[in-house]
C-alpha cells in the first residue's frame, strides 16, 4: 500500500496559518546504457568532440528513417522487471512536437499512450527506519535532445547534437512522496536499482540521470493542490533544495491569499531557488501522434522471460539476505548495498568468514579511513581479501580487536598484508596462559592494597586489574583469557 492515502503527521510543514502536507511526484530521465543511439548507429560515448557522434538520422536530414536499437528495448524491459512493473508486449512510439534549437527533428520520438512498461513500485528506507512503497506509474523510451551552450557568444547559442537521439528511459512516479527526504531516498534507490541492473550508469554529474519534480501543497487530507514542475535537477542536493524552496514559496503564496499557477519552473543552482520559465504558454501543447516512421514495438513472452531469468540480484534481495542469512543489522545492510561496488566488496571480503565482524570492519574502519583520505572504495589501499584476512586473524585470536585497529591503520598506510605487519612488529596476541598468569601475578603484587579492597567487596576494581594487565602486555594479551584467569586468581 502506498503512503498516499495516509496523512503522515511526521512530514507536515508548519505555515503561518496551520499545517501543510507536501505532495511530490518525480519524472526521472535515465540514459540507457548502450553503445549506439536509440534509432541510429552513432555512438553514445560521453565527452566526444562537438557533433562527432552524429549521423544524418540524428541531425534529422530529410529522408532519414529511424531503426530501433534492440539493446535499448532489452534495457527498458530489464529496468521494468527490476521495478516489479508490468511489461507491455505492444508499445507505440509517438511524436512529441515542439521547436527548440537543439531538437533538429522538430519533434521528440517518445511513447505517450502505450509505454513499454506499466505500473511498478520502489521501496524506500528512511533514516528513522521506516520504509515506504512508492508507486511507479510508467516507464517509456524516448530520444534525448542535443545540448545548447549559451555562454560562448553574447548573441548566439552553440548547438552540439552528440546527445541528440541517445536513448532515455523516462520513469514516472506516482505522487506518493511526502517530503524532500523521501524524494532524495527515492532517487538514490532508483539510481541504485538502475546501477545493479546495468541499464544506466547513474552518473548525475554527466547528466545520465536527471529529475523533474512536481510539487504541490495541501491541507492534510484535502484535495491535491495545484502543482509546479521544476525541471532538470541533476543532484540529490539540488532536488532537496528545489523541493524545500517550492514548498515554502507555495505555502507563502496561498497563506497570503494567492493561488499557485500550474507552470514549469527552472532551478538556479547558484541561489538554490526556482523561477518561472518565460514564454512557454503553448509549450504543453505537444500534439502527440503515432510516429508514422515506426511500427508498434511487439515483444514476445519468451524474450521477456529470458530477460527476467537473467536479472541480477537487486539491492532489496541482497539486503534481505544480509539481514537474514548473515545476521547483519538493517543499518549495516543498507549501507553495504547502496552501491553495487560496495556490496561486491563486502561479499568478497566476508565470504567464508565472520560476516558480522567483516561488516563492522568495513562500515566503521574502512569507510572511516576512506572518508578521511577522500578516497572511493575502488581506490581502497586495502583489498577485499586483505580485509578478510585481517578479520580471520581477529576471529582466530591471533590479535585482539584493539591491536587490529593499529594493524588496520598500518595496512591502509602501506598496503601490506595484516599477517606481515603482525609478524614484523611482533603484535601477535599472547594466548599462553602461563605468560598471562605471570603478568597477572606481577600486577596483583604491585597493587596489593587494591586486591584487598576488591576482596573486601569493591567489585568495580575488576576493570582496573584488566586494564593494568592489558597495559603490561602492550595490548597483546588475549582479553578473554585475561578476564578468565584474573577472575580465578582474585576470587580464588
Amino acid at each position: 500500500m502506498s503512503t498516499q492515502d495516509m496523512t503522515d503527521n511526521t512530514n507536515l510543514v508548519q505555515g503561518e496559518t496551520g499545517l501543510w502536507e507536501v505532495v511530490i511526484g518525480m519524472e526521472v530521465h535515465a540514459q540507457v546504457l548502450s553503445e549506439a543511439k536509440l534509432f541510429s548507429g552513432s555512438s553514445t560515448r560521453f565527452g566526444a568532440e562537438p557533433n562527432q557522434n552524429v549521423s544524418l538520422v540524428d541531425a534529422a536530414m530529410p529522408g532519414m528513417l529511424p531503426v530501433i536499437n534492440a539493446e535499448c528495448v532489452r534495457q527498458a524491459v530489464k529496468t521494468g522487471l527490476g521495478l516489479k512493473a508490468e511489461i507491455n508486449l505492444t508499445s507505440v512510439f509517438d511524436r512529441k512536437n515542439y521547436f527548440y534549437a537543439d531538437l533538429p527533428q522538430g519533434y521528440q520520438i517518445s511513447q505517450f499512450k502505450q509505454p513499454i512498461v506499466g505500473e511498478g513500485s520502489i521501496t524506500i528506507s528512511l533514516k528513522d527506519g521506516s520504509t515506504h512503497e512508492i508507486g511507479i506509474e510508467r516507464l517509456h523510451l524516448e530520444q534525448d535532445a542535443g545540448k545548447s551552450m549559451h555562454d560562448q557568444h553574447p548573441s548566439k547559442s552553440y548547438i552540439d547534437l552528440n546527445r541528440s537521439g541517445v536513448a532515455l528511459m523516462e520513469i514516472v512516479s506516482r505522487p506518493d512522496l511526502r517530503s524532500a527526504e523521501q524524494a532524495g531516498a527515492y532517487i538514490k534507490k532508483l539510481r541504485s536499482i538502475l546501477r545493479y541492473l546495468g541499464t544506466c550508469d547513474g552518473n548525475m554529474e554527466e547528466g545520465s540521470l536527471r529529475a523533474d519534480v512536481n510539487v504541490s501543497v495541501r491541507r492534510p487530507g484535502e484535495e491535491l493542490g495545484t502543482r509546479t514542475e521544476t525541471k532538470n535537477l541533476n543532484s540529490v542536493r539540488f532536488i532537496t533544495q528545489a523541493i524545500n524552496y517550492e514548498v515554502q514559496r507555495q505555502i507563502e503564496i496561498i497563506e497570503e491569499g494567492g493561488t499557485i499557477d500550474q507552470e514549469t519552473r527552472l532551478f538556479d543552482t547558484s541561489t538554490g531557488t526556482t523561477r518561472t520559465m518565460r514564454g512557454k504558454e503553448d509549450a504543453h501543447d505537444y500534439r502527440y501522434f503515432p510516429d508514422p516512421d515506426l511500427l508498434p514495438l511487439v515483444l514476445s513472452e519468451e524474450v521477456v522471460s529470458e530477460i527476467e531469468a537473467a536479472l541480477p540480484e537487486l539491492p532489496d534481495e541482497i539486503r534481505a539476505r544480509m539481514t537474514g542469512e548473515y545476521g547483519l543489522s538493517d543499518y549495516d545492510a543498507a549501507v553495504l548495498t547502496e552501491e553495487k561496488e560496495t556490496a561486491a566488496f563486502y561479499e568478497a571480503a566476508s565470504a567464508g568468514r565472520d560476516r558480522k565482524l567483516t561488516a563492522n570492519w568495513m562500515s566503521v574502519e574502512l569507510f572511516g579511513a576512506l572518508n578521511k583520505a577522500s578516497l572511493d572504495l575502488d581506490s581502497s589501499p586495502i583489498s577485499p581479501d586483505q580485509l578478510g584476512a585481517l578479520v580471520d586473524l581477529i576471529s582466530d585470536g591471533t590479535i585482539s580487536g584493539r591491536i587490529a585497529k593499529d594493524v588496520f591503520a598500518d595496512m591502509f598506510e602501506t598496503g601490506k598484508a595484516a599477517a606481515d605487519i603482525i609478524e614484523e612488529k611482533g603484535l601477535k596476541q599472547v594466548s599462553d596462559s602461563g605468560a598471562i598468569e605471570t603478568l597477572i601475578d606481577s600486577v596483583m603484587q604491585a597493587n596489593e592494597d587494591k586486591v584487598a579492597e576488591y576482596r573486601g567487596g569493591k567489585d568495580k576494581l575488576f576493570g582496573f586489574f584488566v586494564g593494568q594487565v592489558m597495559k603490561q602486555s602492550g595490548g597483546q594479551a588475549n582479553p578473554a583469557m585475561v578476564n578468565q584467569i584474573l577472575r580465578q586468581k582474585l576470587d580464588g
Partner: protein
C-alpha cells in the same frame, strides 16, 4: 468537429508556419472538409477491434547495438548557416 479561424491560427503558430489573415478562411474551410470526410469513418462499428498500425503485417525491425555511423562533422554542418568550432551557431535561445 469543426475548425474555426482562431484554431487555424493557433495550429499555424505551433507549427511555426506563417498564415496571413486572407489565407485563414480558406484553410479553415479546407480543414473542415477533410475532417468531415474523415468523420464518415465514425459510421463504421469498430467496437472490440484493435487499432491497425500497418497493413503490411510486418513487425518493427530491430537493429543490433553497434556503432556504425557518426564521425562526419563536416557533412553534418555542411548546410548550417553558421558554425564555429564544430558547433551549429544559432540566434540566442537562452531562457
Amino acid at each position: 468537429m469543426s475548425v474555426d479561424k482562431s484554431t487555424v491560427k493557433k495550429i499555424a503558430k505551433l507549427a511555426r508556419i506563417a498564415v496571413s489573415d486572407e489565407e485563414t478562411d480558406t484553410i479553415a474551410s479546407e480543414l473542415n472538409h477533410i475532417l468531415n470526410w474523415i468523420e464518415e469513418l465514425n459510421e463504421v462499428d469498430t467496437d472490440g477491434v484493435a487499432p491497425l498500425a500497418s497493413v503490411t503485417g510486418h513487425n518493427l525491425p530491430l537493429r543490433q547495438d553497434a556503432v556504425t555511423d557518426g564521425d562526419k562533422v563536416d557533412q553534418i554542418l555542411a548546410n548550417a548557416p553558421e558554425q564555429a568550432s564544430g558547433f551549429f551557431v544559432v540566434p540566442k535561445v537562452v531562457e
